[in-house]
Each structure stands twice: as structure tokens, then as C-alpha cells.
Subunit: 173 residues, 2 copies
Amino acid sequence: MPTQRDPSTTEYAVLGILAEAPSHGFAIARHFRPDGDLGRVLTVRRPLVYRALDRLVEAGYAEPASTEPGDSGPQRVVLRATPAGRRRVRAWLGAPVVHVRDLRIEFLVKLTLLRRSGRSTERLVARQREALEGTFAALDGPDPDDHVDLWRRHTAAGAASFLEALGRRGPGG
Amino acid sequence: MPTQRDPSTTEYAVLGILAEAPSHGFAIARHFRPDGDLGRVLTVRRPLVYRALDRLVEAGYAEPASTEPGDSGPQRVVLRATPAGRRRVRAWLGAPVVHVRDLRIEFLVKLTLLRRSGRSTERLVARQREALEGTFAALDGPDPDDHVDLWRRHTAAGAASFLEALGRRGPGG
DNA sequence: ATAGAGTAGTCACAATGAGACTAAGAATGG
DNA sequence: CCATTCTTAGTCTCATTGTGACTACTCTAT
């Protein structure tokens, strides 16, 4: 059998929603529209949401639960997260990202999912700061000549102050 | 005839190299490896470089110039930028990016190309600051509660201080 | 001679992204 | 009463991007 690759951020995000409560593709897709809570961070169009669900089912992280009549429309196929899926997404939600560049999407998706369901973000924020403190420390000293290094320095400084501001807001912040 | 879409950043970057001097795919691809000057900003694998060249030729921005014996290897196909291609890339190099998120790749590619060939970056940097000053100004005030807005604020601040630091280094900086 | 390393370019396939399409049921309007 | 239109629900197709493996050519070292 072909080895399953790790879920993408999109797939994890969809699984995150599904782990909160059983749902169906169309409803999940609403969260990921540009004006949705998750869509503000990561917009995902409908076909992609359905593809992500297909993969999650293939991987054993989600399964069909039932078909229900739709809200004025065709039947909907309700899916739910499996225990393996819930374990997987819980581990992902607790783990900090490795690169500064993943803060923008992956880390913000995690924060959004945690806050949606009223879970505390304190631990994740603390771990994220620890995970990147080495990166931030390596950027001390005078401004470098190279413009790429200069960019890294100033954006890393922005990211560091973001994490500090997050940390200053007690639990749930 | 199908309307040509605008070149992607990758295509512009390849065209930028080609506009400096006629060259061939393999040599161009070297600049875009992770350790190359352009690759530090935007890495592009060989197949993608050749595809970009195909498109540039289709679009009339590049054309085959000659075939030459390779450096210990097969013949190489040398391409050159057409006048239309040179015009196009010159205009692109002079134009600031519209969104903060495009600074990281598109703007840094422009800077890199300008510096490679010894051209001044002053004008582009000044225009880029003007182009984003509205965005930066809109972020004044106390830290927002929403974590997505908080992220935007702190990273925009990082980007603004990067552009200021760039601006402080006279011509060519 | 032959095995390796670097040069030059191609191929096939997977993943992503965007738009248009089917289809069902409810509401509207002449 | 029938046609239109809106929203819900899901699918299909195609273009673009990204990745690894592949061919082939030339020189060098063993």
C-alpha cells in the first residue's frame, strides 16, 4: 500500500472543524470563505474542502456518519472525525510551528481553532515562543548589509513582538 | 487567440536574468537554487525554469539565439530577451508591490535583480514606501483584541521598519 | 574500459487552485 | 399554474505549480 503523506494545513484545518462536531462539506466550506472565521486566515474553496474530506476519509481520520435532508436543498452527507482523527488533530493543535514563515497561516489557524471551541491558547503560545527563541536570538546585532538578511531580521522582530503581545493576554487570549 | 495571462513572479524573475545577458536554461537554473542569489529569495527547480522559458518564448518576451557547445556536456540552447521582454521586465522592476505579503518574495526579487546588475534601488524603495504608507497608517492605535488583526499589525510594523532601514542606506542600498 | 561526476534538458505524476457545471428544493411573480 | 430565480449541496474540468526520476552527453580518474 502507498504510504500516506502527512495532512496539509488545509486538511488539518478541515479536520479541526470536523473534530468539534459532525458536519458536511458545504457547511465546513462556509467557515473557509474569505469572510469566515477560518477563511480570514486561510481561504479554501468548496472543491478543495471536498477534496480534503475525501483524503481525510481515505486516511481514516474521518468517516461518513449519516445523510440528512438539507436546509432547502439536496440531501447532505454528514461526516464525523474518527478517534484517530481526533488524536491526530489534537496533537497538531498543541505543536508549535518550526519556521517563522509558518506563523502566518499554520499558527493562526491553530489559534483560531482553539479559540473557536473555547480552549486556552496559553500553552501553544508559550511553546511557540520557546520554539522560535533561538531563531530570534540569532538575529541580534547591527543591521546586516544584505537586503534578504535585513528582511529576515525586521520581520522576525515583528513576529517576536506579536508573540509577546499574545502572551501578555492571560488565558484564552 | 487565447489571451496571454500576466507573467508570474517566477517568470518575471527568469526574464530578469535573461534581460541582463543571453543565457541558457541550466545556467539560469543555477541562480535559483537555494544557495543562489535569487534562490535565497525564491527557489525554482530546473523543470520550472524550463517551463518559464517556454512561456516567455510563447509570449514573445524571449527567443532562441543560438546553440553552443556546453561546458563538458551536451549542446546548450541559448535564449535572449526580446525588446518587448526587456520593456516588460523593466516596467515590472520599477513598480512597487501592492500588498504587504508580496514584499517577501516579489519585492525582494526586484531588489536582488536591481543590485545584481548594479542599478540603484533608491527609487523602487521610495515608491514602495509610498505605496504601503496608507496600509501602515491604518494600523495605528492600541493593539486589537483579534489575533489575526494583531498579527497584521505587528508584521506590518516589521515590514515598515525594514523599508525604513533600506531607505537609510543611500543609493544602491 | 569503465565508473563516476557534472552538465543539459525532459518526463510523468501529484497537488493546488479557479471557474463553470449539475441538481434539488423553496420562494417569487406574472 | 408555470417559469424564474435563489440558496443549498456537491461535482467536473482544466490550468498551474511542484517534485523526483529519467535520458544523454562529456570529461576525469582509476
